[in-house]
């Protein structure tokens, strides 16, 4: 009766292996540089890749939330929105650092309050509670016109100018850089006391209690982390669209965020990146399917959820194991 998802299997390989923390950031930076300098993709492809990186950043926190702490939220579009709107409002008059930090601060405040109020709830109750939170956020975005300009949204948001690059190339560079930082933090967290406390709290609450872990506090911490990374991702999404609009941060966005780490493999360190490639890029490149595009995407998501609950990580591990067996046998 065990779950096949990545973390639960008591196999020592997952938990105790410590990856060198810089491997992932280094790979991401290298791939990013190669894409930008060597591959030089067309404007649409570069935009899709940037969106993938932005969602991967947002999903790092979600991977921690779902994969480490075992909490499911359908309301994280709210934190994307906090980051996106803060960027759209503040980036041009106050500069990028203020805009990014403001989004993060707003997201953290909301996450702490909502986390304290809701995280004692049972699974579906918390999920639907966050869904309501996201819906409330949409109502606020639509109607608090003095700040958000309502449904017409805020345009002329500007973007993060890096290394003398312009336009989408610069946003791409910023997204890759931030993604590297967040992946580093994810790996650092996994081996930290807090990260271990989250994982123990998820899979063995009695042991967690015995170890003196305050499970509800680690859950709030995970929720706050997911808010931080979503806010940064949201700021990048706003840059890509050139502004912030309620339609960008709808329930659909929250669902995408939820699907990413699960498709990738909950808790796997590559889950945010691999999941984002599948969830964000795949529908763009499934466009040849025309009207059946979303139907095929939906079927894929359902099949993975039902028959591959460890996500792509499960596939990867299966392949690695098979190769290993062949080599030894």
């Amino acid at each position: 009766m065990t779950v096949v998802a990545s973390p639960p299997r008591p196999a020592p390989s997952v938990r105790t292996t410590r990856h060198w923390r810089w491997t992932q950031p280094a790979i991401v930076l290298l791939v990013g540089a190669v894409v930008l300098l060597v591959v030089r993709p067309g404007p649409f492809d570069l935009r899709v890749l940037t969106l993938v990186a932005a969602y991967a950043i947002a999903a790092v926190g979600f991977n921690v939330l779902v994969g480490f702490a075992g909490v499911v939220s359908i309301g994280n579009s709210l934190f994307l929105a906090a980051g996106g709107y803060a960027w759209a409002i503040l980036a041009v008059p106050r500069g990028p650092l203020v805009a990014l930090l403001a989004g993060v601060v707003v997201a953290v405040v909301i996450a702490v309050l909502a986390g304290l109020a809701l995280l004692r709830l049972r699974a579906y109750y918390f999920a639907v509670g966050t869904l309501a939170l996201g819906a409330l956020g949409t109502v606020v975005m639509r109607n608090w016109t003095s700040v958000t300009n309502g449904d017409a949204g805020i345009t002329g948001a500007g973007y993060l100018k890096l290394f003398g690059l312009t336009g989408v190339s610069s946003i791409f560079a910023a997204a890759v850089l931030l993604l590297a930082v967040f992946l580093y933090l994810q790996e650092a967290l996994r081996t930290s006391p807090l990260g271990l406390a989250m994982i123990v709290g998820r899979f063995d609450p009695p042991v967690a209690d015995a170890l003196g872990v305050n499970v509800s506090r680690t859950r709030v911490a995970a929720f706050v982390l997911s808010a931080v990374s979503a806010a940064v991702g949201g700021a990048l999404v706003a840059q890509l669209a050139g502004g912030a609009f309620p339609d960008q941060f709808s329930t659909t966005a929250a669902i995408s965020l939820l699907v990413i780490p699960i498709i990738g493999g909950r808790g796997w360190r590559w889950a945010p990146v691999v999941g984002a490639i599948v969830v964000i890029a795949a529908p763009e490149y499934l466009r040849f399917l025309d009207e059946y595009r979303l139907a095929v995407y939906g079927v894929l998501v359902t099949l993975v959820a039902l028959f591959l609950p460890g996500g792509i990580h499960q596939l990867v591990r299966g392949l690695v194991a098979r190769v290993g067996r062949r080599r030894h046998g």
Partner: protein
């Protein structure tokens, strides 16, 4: 349990902070435009951007059908000077981020022009990308905020909200109505039009006795109509898109409103009569399409089978939009810059939209094809549409 390696963490965060602090917010639009367009002999690609999924999927579907049928007619008649046209129809789901990405996609795939999209926020978000890529766009979103951007590459089909308001004010005057109750929906469509409406009414010396908003997905809107009834208004101006007019009509019946409801051009949506039945009565609107026009009659006759009855105005608008683009390409070839320049001199009295004798016309200072005053007043009467009295 190993403690978090603080030095490494601090180093990473500091590096990121330093890089971020050293950078600035860019607002320029300086990406090189991709030299465009199809190689000779291949089909000429036109990008069609529609919200085919999400809340605006219904009108988008009508437009899609209209575009496809029109393209088929054009290609059956030999295409553009012998070259067939190909439509690259894409779904933006009403999401601005996707809409902006689609501009780049169309450019990358060599589209000559973009037709779309339906939602004003998406068109506004696309504006910079369209200017940067230097590709002409024919947007059918009606917000005058788009007009105000004065983007040389963006053309609107019109009439915009501003143009429709002129028509509404003129009608109110002719009917001797002086006390409007103003109801706008909370989508971008209504929220964007609300200040424009209030200004336009104020300029005409009309002060709304009630100004309220409503949600398009509400099941029952009788409460807001009850307020209108009790406000002492002598008519209701309701600004929304398509199906909610049916909900308003039913609400009006429930509270015994008894006042004329003045709506937008999208009240012409056949869904209104289908959803409200005979309750759809006393709703007045300016239709972009006059179905008495001979060219409209001809198309409607040809297409009604495809739509199973009434051909929606959205589909006929799609016919116009594609005709304008193809006329342009026919005149100057599949070249984005030349097409843009040509569109500023475009003039056509034979399109489907507009009242009989109206002219679709662009100029360097006017990027709205059909300006206000070119529409036909119609009204719902027990679930059917007829020309309004006194128009």
């Amino acid at each position: 349990m190993r403690p978090l390696r603080r030095t490494g963490l601090a180093a990473a965060v500091l590096t990121a902070a330093a890089v971020l602090a050293a950078c600035s917010t860019g607002t320029d639009a300086s990406t090189q435009p991709t030299p465009a367009a199809a190689a000779p002999g291949n089909a000429i690609t036109i990008g069609i951007d529609l919200p085919l999924s999400g809340p605006s999927a219904a009108p988008a579907e009508s437009m899609r059908k209209g575009f496809e049928l029109t393209a088929k007619e054009i290609n059956d008649a030999g295409g553009v000077n012998g070259t067939p046209i190909a439509l690259d129809i894409q779904d933006d789901a009403g999401d601005p981020t996707t809409g902006v990405a689609l501009v780049d996609r169309f450019v990358q795939n060599g589209a000559v022009a973009i037709a779309g999209t339906y939602n004003s926020p998406v068109v506004l978000a696309q504006s910079d990308a369209v200017a940067r890529a230097q590709i002409p766009q024919l947007a059918f979103a009606i917000s005058s905020a788009i007009t105000k951007k004065n983007n040389p590459w963006v053309f609107q089909t019109g009439p915009t909200d501003l143009g429709q308001i002129d028509g509404i004010v003129a009608r109110l005057k002719s009917q001797g109505l002086t006390k409007p109750a103003l109801l706008t929906d909370t989508t971008a469509f209504g929220a964007g039009a609300k200040p424009v409406l209030e200004q336009g009414l104020a300029a005409a010396g009309l002060t709304p006795v009630l100004s309220d908003t409503f949600a398009v997905d509400a099941t029952d809107l009788s409460a807001v109509l009850l307020k209108a009834k009790q406000s002492g208004a002598d008519h209701v101006i309701a600004w929304t898109v398509g199906p909610p007019y049916a909900t308003l009509a039913k609400g009006a019946e429930q509270v015994g409103l008894g006042l004329p409801i003045v709506g937008t051009a999208s009240a012409a949506d056949p869904a209104v009569a289908r959803l409200a039945g005979p309750a759809a009565t006393n709703i007045f609107f300016q239709d972009a399409v006059n179905r008495e026009k001979p060219q409209v009659k001809a198309i409607v006759e040809k297409w009604s089978g495809e739509f199973g009855g009434t051909v929606p105005s959205d589909a006929l608008s799609a016919h116009d939009i594609l005709t304008v683009i193809v006329d342009g390409i026919r005149a100057v070839g599949p070249d984005r810059a030349k097409l843009r320049d040509h569109l500023e001199t475009y003039r056509n009295p034979n399109l489907l939209s507009g009242r009989i004798g109206s002219v679709w016309e662009y100029s360097p200072t006017n990027h709205v094809g059909l300006v206000g005053g070119n529409l036909v007043w119609k009204q719902y009467d027990n679930g059917t549409v007829r020309l309004a009295d006194g128009s």
